[in-house]
């Protein structure tokens, strides 16, 4: 699974992207992936400390906490968008 980070999540984690292989029986959706990633490092924990500030996309589509994730997916995490 390819995991991408944007804006202040990228800065807190110190990575723009990483490969992740969460156990599929433990991590089934976006919310589960966040819980699993948050335990990876202090930077991850800081980035995901306030989940209400985090948005996600799965395979380049906006996702919700219950959106399924699976091996091979591209999952991105970012703050609420501020374009325009």
């Amino acid at each position: 699974m390819r995991v991408l980070y944007f804006a202040w999540l990228r800065q807190k984690i110190g990575l723009a992207e990483e490969e992740a292989a969460p156990p599929p029986d433990e991590v089934r959706d976006v919310a589960g992936l966040i819980r699993w990633l948050a335990a990876r490092s202090p930077g991850h924990a800081a980035a995901f400390a306030e989940p209400r500030l985090v948005r996600a996309a799965v395979n380049q589509e906006f996702a919700t906490p219950d959106t399924p994730v699976a091996p091979g997916d591209e999952v991105a995490f970012f703050p609420p968008v501020t374009g325009g």
Partner: protein, 173 residues
Amino acid sequence: MATVRVQEALFDLAAETAALTAGRTDVGAVASFLGVCRADDGLAAMVLEHYPAMTERALRRIAAEAEARWPLTGCTVIHRVGRILPGEPIVLVLTASTHRAAALESCAFLIDWLKTRAPFWKCEEFADGTRRWVEARADDEAAAARWGEQVAADAPGEGAPARRQREAEPAAE
């Protein structure tokens, strides 16, 4: 078919407007929105980050939604990324139609939806070297919500199955 571009370079409002009406005599109205970088609180520059694999598709889908809702003869959405200086343009939305109501309404719709449904993030750089990520505004979300839910399928030519786009909700709560 909408024109959608994401670019670092400046764009030319007059040239883009001319391109929308070139060779046609059925256009009665062109509406435009030009977003410009302000120098609030000593801002030195705005740095626009985006999600390249997703951005153009998101913009194309938003443009397709406008074309499904209003009888447009054309529309253009150009969003800049990278470092933008105060006074420079950030985003351009142009809509063309036979009559003004469709052009004006769809132009407002496009910029409202773009602000809440396209993966761009603004980081402000100040003269003293500090940086600050711009926070999403509740009134932007309210402005987008007044247009209701999406009715159109994916943008033509994408080859993806029709599906409703979800609003950007918290990823976990």
